[in-house]
Symmetry: C2
Subunit: 430 residues, 2 copies
């Protein structure tokens, strides 16, 4: 059974803190293995990739066959259901349109003493995209990770995807093609992360690596961070739904299960002010579970980590939401905007009864890579900004330096940095 | 002697790669000690802080004396040289003005099928600012780390600063006061990072921790990352100066040494097309070194890590700069803007002969916390954005869901996620 909390119960605060601090992930320590693999890839390059791929994916690679050819991609696209291709194209169009609006503006101005100041945004030159193989190989994730890089203006977009026993998901290749990925290599695991970070004879290194992966991939990304940039390490998925009693319980139940079916460690939480509605949702969950292909996973997630919080007044859910800081927040009430404007911490908000969170997973436009594990308190979803960096620009002439230089000399002396002071005072003497 | 490279030499590429990959930092593995301290602070809270502070700073603290009082801050401000206070105020004014222009805009629009989309930026609620004690206690860093948080709208700004033997730098307290820091605690090291991340009875936890520190502080920040956000872990400082022969060699020499005096691991590189100028700069460095208070540090940095690269044509410096991706870049030529526009990777650019990098350390306005160790390839200096996060907003009604929902159902089915498909299809039946 999911846990049930009543906000007016005497022990609510303790129960809520338990919910907040519950560990859902089993962290396996693979750091040493990963460090070895990375060092080996750094040292032996392509040959290390071939060896690990033979061992882990049961696949013999060569310099030529490691890269997925343009013909293979074309054939994969041709083998896909045209309706699925059309759905991907719609998604790609909408994701591109939304992300194009995130492009930051450059800044340039001359201040009151004549100093020219500004900043300039530029794209990273090359980005690597990790795509898991097997069951977790999602075409939608390819679009969500690749398109922000494209919109940012990244010149070289490299995808790695393991192909256990040589099998690749054709729709993943189709998504890569639609997103404009430049190079695809059939490698995975820590070794693929190493290849992207350090480069090999065949694969040029990139500047940033994004995309989801298993514990080995996550550990490898952490270890190469610094040599390259990385995106967030995503935890298990989460949804918080704030719903009054006027919703169709079957809809809300499906939304809770859509999150739960990702992973037994996923978490679905409902906050409502209607005890009968809560009961109806629970029953609808049980009915849905009988018909779902991933009912075992979804059922276990709901049982182990699901929660229903009953509040007297839905206004109470505002403060609770900010403490939970959910990855996904559905607000299924009559005036969702009013409530949304009072909430500070959430990766993405889905407003109104018709806005299923799933719409955001695929076709709404915003990114589905979002902060998990309460990190929406301080971080944001993947965006164009993650593939760009900002350079500050400063320009003084003799006169404007005279206006601000003496203060710099004063502070440099206070900090005991006499070369700093000298660098400015020599120019002031001029 | 600094290394000297000639871009037209046969072994230049090898020498340049050596320069790029040279390790300047001695990485000490303090992870285990730090993990213990953090766990202890999590468990014992204030008492652990008192114990570590007694051990490391030789200072007995209590719940009351741990916090620096408003009166202490006032007294510190009163004890400072008024000229230094005025210099800090000028710097604070200029930093605030520049960073206010970084504030991102919210987004809200309705697309062609009627889906309402957007994003909203909000400030993190509480930020922690680490300030080193002793020699590396820089008032300018307090401004540079605190003011972007203030501009972002962070409601609670908490500073920790160790006070070995009870000594605090009055100008650091003055800078905190000018920047509007809300709480100051006289604690440091990994224990202070733990207190900010987990909270104690006396100190409420924060959402993000920024600011420089020693190896223990850096390791602690890495370990609490996830529980809270952190800024970059900064490496030793660097400057690259592109200069033609028309510069005053004494100015450029002072700029090289201003970077070198930070740390024996700092790096100063000059690229020039004029061999006589290069020689004059070297001589000026040696002359300056005789008069500098930190000549031992600066001299060692210049000897061990300094470099002069001679090119036939300054245009060659563009590609070299992008590979070095320096933290600071001075472009001391006649038309610096033209060259700057061709360079992609640099934390900050200082344009023209009068723009000493030092101006940016103190009073220009842009942040002096900048990406080191080639990370300007993929990351940016500290900004208002680091203290804010973005929430995506999505809103469909029945009609707009009909336009995009079917594609979501198609993709969900392709990905084998039937609860996802159900969540949308139930609403499409309506």
């Amino acid at each position: 059974m999911p846990s049930e909390l009543r906000a007016n119960a005497g022990d609510f605060e303790d129960q809520f803190l338990d919910l907040l601090s519950s560990k859902r992930e089993v962290s396996s320590d693979v750091n040493d293995v990963v460090a070895e693999i990375l060092a080996d890839v750094k040292r032996r390059g392509d040959q290390a990739l071939f060896d690990y791929t033979k061992r882990f994916d049961r696949l013999e690679l060569t310099v030529d066959s490691m890269r997925v050819s343009a013909i293979e991609v074309e054939e994969a696209v041709a083998s896909c259901d045209p309706e699925s291709i059309k759905a991907l194209e719609l998604a790609a169009h909408r994701i591109t349109d939304y992300h194009a609006r995130q492009k930051p503006e450059n800044l340039q101005y001359t201040d009151e003493v004549g100093v020219q100041l500004g900043h300039r945004w530029t794209a990273v030159q090359a980005a690597g995209l990790y795509v898991p193989g097997g069951l977790a190989s999602y075409p939608s994730s390819v679009l969500m990770n690749a398109l922000p890089a494209k919109v940012a203006g990244v010149e070289r977009l490299v995808m790695v995807v393991p192909s256990p026993d040589g099998v690749l998901n054709p729709l993943v290749l189709a998504a890569a093609s639609i997103a404009g990925v430049d190079e695809i290599y059939r490698i995975g695991g820590a070794q693929a992360v190493g290849a992207l970070a350090y480069g090999t004879d065949t694969i040029n290194p990139v500047d940033i690596i994004v995309g989801p992966g298993n514990a080995y991939v996550a550990a490898a990304k952490k270890q190469v961070f610094g040599t390259v940039g990385i995106d967030m390490i995503a935890g298990p998925s989460e949804i918080l739904i704030i719903a009054d009693g006027k919703n169709d319980p079957r809809w809300i139940a499906a939304d809770l299960l859509a999150q739960a079916e990702h992973d037994t460690a996923a978490q679905s939480i409902l906050i409502t002010d209607d005890v009968n509605f809560a009961e109806a949702v629970k029953q609808a969950v049980d009915i849905h579970l009988q018909a779902l292909s991933r009912s075992e996973i979804a059922g276990k997630s709901w049982q182990d980590h699901g929660a229903i919080i009953l509040v007297d007044d839905l206004e109470e859910s505002i403060a609770l939401t900010d403490r939970i800081a959910p990855e996904h927040l559905e607000i299924a009430v009559d005036e969702p905007d009013a409530m949304a404007s009072k909430i500070r911490n959430a990766g993405a908000m889905f407003l109104g009864r018709y806005t299923a969170e799933v719409i955001g997973d695929y076709v709404a436009g915003p990114n589905h890579v979002l902060p998990t594990a309460r990190s929406a308190r301080f971080s944001s979803g993947l965006s164009v900004l993650d593939f760009m960096k900002r350079t500050s620009l400063i320009s003084c002439d003799a006169q404007s330096l005279k206006a601000i230089g003496p203060a710099a000399v004063t502070l440099a002396k206070e900090e005991g940095l006499t070369a700093h002071a000298l660098s400015v005072s020599l120019r002031l003497e001029d």
